[in-house]
């Protein structure tokens, strides 16, 4: 079974390798590795493959709000060469352009805010849809059958729910954990499914995007500080057991500490997932850099193994993000936080 799977994944990797864009992008060294950065960052269109001169892409809406022109809707295809699908300043459309680094810009240089449905937004809604579908079908099992043994989707979701509730929420938050369990489960499932689906060929690096991790970290930051009790704020602004002159140093450090916690959350998930993608793509790129079949085969085997490791990383990072969120909330709601943390 394992051998079959391995053979299948090797074949699949070789196949995907053949279709990945750089295969046909014969040219400079930069071209052979540029697809790596192109993959890990967000994009205004979803590029799947280039077969010959045909680009298999999903055009995406570009939504812009500017003070002088209001809300405007375009498509990504408006800003590119229809033959090569390349973006560039020369393909400006109604005063906007997307440059060759996939940045939206305004010809006259005025400020604007972008609300485009980018590749990662589409990916995110896909993940949200899948998480919602799986969770709701799991919940419908309980609605139909009452409190009985789980079956189907409920059998997959229930262990996760119980794990998050008992191992993460209850252990890290303490007696007031119940209120935070729904957020923690949603967070875990969103990150986990995002990480896993991001590993699929052609998928977007959604959970490895800093905007996504930033938003999640900000939500955790808001929840943590809104739930902060008297002890928590006393710990920040009048740290117990510290002489008053020392508070001049301690208080700024504590205030910075409030922000470093979610910052660490944001960076950890972003780096872990993006690094995984870069390593995988780097191994794929080796074959094209050396233009050797032997290295291609070896790097494909490596890619398979790293993919397996990435499956683990996907789960660990989802767990770690949820666990740290729970611990920060736990620190904020603990009755005598200053007793346990010194």
């Amino acid at each position: 079974m394992t051998r079959k799977l391995l053979a299948l994944s090797l074949l699949l990797s070789a196949f995907l390798l053949g279709f990945s864009s750089p295969t046909f992008a014969a040219g400079s060294e930069e071209d052979k590795t540029s697809f790596i950065m192109h993959h890990v960052v967000d994009s205004h269109e979803w590029h799947f493959a280039t077969i010959g001169h045909t680009h298999v892409t999903l055009p995406l809406p570009v939504i812009v709000y500017s003070a002088d022109r209001g809300l405007e809707f375009f498509m990504s295809t408006d800003f590119q060469n229809h033959e090569t699908h390349a973006f560039g300043k020369e393909y400006a459309h109604e005063g906007y352009f997307i440059d060759d680094h996939d940045h939206l810009g305004r010809v006259d240089g005025a400020s604007f805010t972008e609300f485009s449905i980018t590749k990662n937004v589409v990916m995110m809604f896909l993940v949200i849809f899948i998480v919602a579908y799986v969770s709701l079908s799991a919940a419908s099992h309980y609605k139909k059958n009452g409190a009985v043994a789980p079956k189907g989707a409920a059998a997959i979701i229930e262990p996760i729910v119980i794990f998050v509730r008992d191992e993460i929420a209850h252990k890290s938050i303490g007696p007031k954990y119940k209120k935070y369990v729904p957020y923690l489960i949603t967070l875990f499932l969103f990150i986990w499914f995002g990480n896993l689906l991001g590993l699929l060929p052609g998928a977007a690096n959604m959970t490895g995007n800093i905007a996504v991790t930033l938003t999640l970290a900000v939500l955790t930051f808001i929840i943590t500080n809104v739930s902060g009790n008297k002890d928590y704020w006393k710990h920040v602004f009048a740290t117990p057991g510290v002489p008053i002159p020392m508070l001049l140093i301690i208080v700024p450090v504590e205030i910075i500490g409030l922000f470093t916690k979610p910052f660490a959350l944001m960076v950890r998930l972003f780096v872990a997932i993006t690094a995984g993608h870069i390593v995988i793509l780097g191994f794929i790129a080796l074959g094209f850099i050396f233009e050797s079949y032997t290295i291609g085969i070896v790097s494909t085997i490596m890619v398979t193994f790293i993919n397996i490791i990435e499956l683990l990383v996907a789960t660990i990072q989802a767990y770690v993000f949820t666990l740290f969120t729970a611990m920060y909330i736990g620190g904020a709601v603990a009755e005598h936080a200053h007793d346990d943390h010194h």
Partner: protein
């Protein structure tokens, strides 16, 4: 797009999407699910507690039964012991009574025998006296007439006595 510059569009849609997901899942998935889980857990706990208490009750019942049994056994033993004692005593009493009666009877028999013996002796004495008187009478009558006849008579009497 940049690697470490968060895009405003993505943040906006992410907030919108994630909060929507959170809202929908809390309302339609996690609340019913967590409630069902809690219900199931409490029902399992109750079932376990009920089983535990049933087991305890069972043990208590068993202990009670054993106690009752032990008491019954003790009572039986006492009754048996008492009965045995009573029977032994009865036998002893009967023996004593019997020996008393026997002794009395022997005493009585002895007395009767003594009386009978005395009566018999008296009778014998009387008979001897009567016989002696008769012999003496007949002797006296014969002596008066003849010496020879007298002797013959004595012999005859003596013969008579032997024959008797």
């Amino acid at each position: 797009m940049d690697l470490i510059t968060p895009g405003s569009g993505l943040i906006f849609w992410q907030l919108f999407g994630f909060l929507g997901l959170l809202f929908i899942l809390i309302k339609f998935a996690w609340k019913p699910m967590l409630a069902a889980l809690e219900e199931r857990e409490s029902s399992i706990e109750n079932a376990l507690k009920a089983a535990e208490s049933a087991r305890n009750e069972m043990a208590n019942l068993k202990a009670d039964n054993e106690k009752l049994l032990a008491e019954a056994r003790l009572e039986r033993d006492t009754i048996l012991k008492k009965a045995q004692e009573a029977s032994v005593k009865m036998i002893e009493d009967a023996k004593i009574e019997a020996s008393k009666v026997a002794a009395q009877q022997i005493e009585n028999a002895k007395a009767v025998i003594e009386t009978e013996k005395r009566a018999a002796l008296t009778e014998v004495k009387n008979q001897v006296a009567i016989l002696t008187l008769e012999v003496t009478e007949k002797l006296l009558r014969r002596t008066l007439s003849d010496e020879k006849a007298q002797k013959a008579l004595v012999d005859e009497f003596v013969k008579d006595i032997k024959l008797n």
